[in-house]
Amino acid sequence: MFRQSPARTLVLLATLAGLAVYASAGGYFAREIVVEIAILAILAISLDVVAGFGGMVSLAHGAMMGLSAYTYAIFSVKLGWPPLPSALMGIGASALFGTAIGWITGRTTGIFFIMATLAFGQMAYTVFFKWRWLGGDDGLGGLSRFDLGWLGIKMGDSLTFAFFALVMVLAVYAAAAWVLRTAFGRTLTGIHTNEDRMRALGVSTVVHRAQALGFSAMLAGVAGIIAAQHILYISPEMLVWTVSGEVLIVVILGGLGTLIGPLLGAVIFVLLKHEISAYTNHWHIVIGILLIATVLSGGRGIYGQVEHWLTRRTQPAGKTAEAPDA
């Protein structure tokens, strides 16, 4: 069962504050990195909701993000809607897409579920890759950011936008943590632990899983809006399955089923990527080694491992109540 422990709240706020300081003190490049971290973190948190707590490992989260971004572009660029309602349409489209995937894949689990999500994701990718009206493989530009001028906030400023992205990380984390602590989240964990029994207790597990995937896709849709507004240009590359694979790596690296781990994972992943690329082009090797080390040391992820050590220390030996939060 998910628990928003004080340690997790502390790590969440400290990480976000650290990133805010980094964005303020650093230059334009630091702000770009912070936004990149924020987008990846939101995707990772949204994936953790279904993968860590619902046992649904999805390779369609990149596609969900991309669908949201493209829908945003369709409404704001092509149909001339204002940014805010366009963004809501984007997030809604993503949520629908996720619900549909969940509904259709219904009772498939494990590797078959992963393959099904991969197929749906690649289908969405192909659609936007071929769709000339939306620029096809050239992508689409001319997007705009939210206009918060009436609040005295200039979204065009790189620091302001970095702060905006961090606030969205906080909002997405809060939404995920909220839902996981409600009846819906409890039942989702129950389904993850023993779907057969949950069904025998009277829960329509297929519907529940579809709704969970819809909720997760909605959060991924938020990442899509930020990504679209970040560089004001979108391309089908957002939807390609390797993006989803990267998100999955981030979740596992940070700690599957911890919710806060994926945020840390995103920070580490992006910083490592930029630091190591300064020396070598083979930064994937380092991430790969880190991932293997994580999996071989129990698969708890970086945050999960630290939490494991801490609980072992605070509890008397022999009485290690194995209470995983997943």
Binding site: V179, A200, E322
Partner: protein, 248 residues
């Protein structure tokens, strides 16, 4: 309360359930007996909905549940326990019962309320824990509980949904004599209005708790009657008790 009409199930040429019919009155305790391979579990699975019968009908309170999924049948008040413990292994005893109680009260889906903080859910968990003697173990992780406790929890989960009909698949399988005794007490302590159907091979349990006994052999109902009638019946003796007495 529960009616089975001319139920048949074949796997290819093999008829595993042959024309089985019986009626359970509200509050009745019915034990279905039969030697190994008599088709008890197949019949059970058709009742709970994991197997689709070839023909026949199953009615709960006069309404057919044939088209209903496992979960929809559960929502109609049909609750089951498993022959092999089927629990939420990663969670605590309390969390197990909470999930079941919340599902039984239709509180498993809200994204605004926490079912684990719900007063009614907590009250049900407290009562059921007492019923199945797990009050002292509520915070224990299930995977570190003893086999006996897990067996009790298995029944507790089925009870926590507050069913109208409780279906139990060999509830005493694999537990020792002391456990069986406390299990008899548990069955006697169940609310009288609860209808209970138990699949068993343990004769003592059948004679102790059943109002009526149905004997199954080769997928067919070969006898139905009170425990006393069952004891005295020659057919039953031949196919089942003979074997039982030889073993005893």
């Amino acid at each position: 309360m529960l009616e089975v009409r001319k139920l048949c199930k074949s796997f290819g040429g093999l008829q595993v359930t042959r024309n089985v019919s019986f009626v359970l009155e509200p509050g009745e305790r019915r034990v279905i007996l039969g030697p190994n391979g008599a088709g008890k579990t197949t019949l059970f699975n058709q009742l709970v909905g994991t197997l689709t019968p070839s023909s026949g009908d199953i009615l709960v309170q006069g309404r057919s549940v044939m088209g209903l999924s496992v979960s929809a049948r559960a929502r109609e008040g049909l609750s089951r326990s498993y022959q092999k413990n089927n629990l939420f292994e990663d969670l605590s005893v309390r969390e197990n019962l909470m999930l079941a109680a919340a599902a039984g009260q239709g509180k498993a889906r809200s994204i605004w309320r926490d079912s684990f903080r719900d007063a009614e859910v907590r009250e049900t968990v407290r009562e059921v824990a007492q019923q199945v003697a797990l009050t002292d173990m509520l915070d224990m992780p299930v995977r570190s509980a003893s086999y006996g406790s897990r067996r009790q929890l298995e029944v507790g989960l089925a009870l926590a949904t507050r069913p109208r009909i409780l279906l139990m698949d060999e509830p005493t399988s694999g537990v020792g004599p002391t456990m069986i005794e406390s299990f008899h007490r548990l069955l006697h302590s169940l609310p009288r209005e609860l209808t209970v159907l138990i699949i068993e091979h343990d004769m003592d349990l059948a004679f102790d708790v059943a109002d009526r006994i149905t004997v199954l052999n080769f997928g067919e109902v070969v006898f139905e009657g009170t425990p006393d009638e069952t004891r005295g019946n020659k057919v039953v003796r031949d196919i089942y008790l003979g074997d039982w007495q030889a073993n005893a």
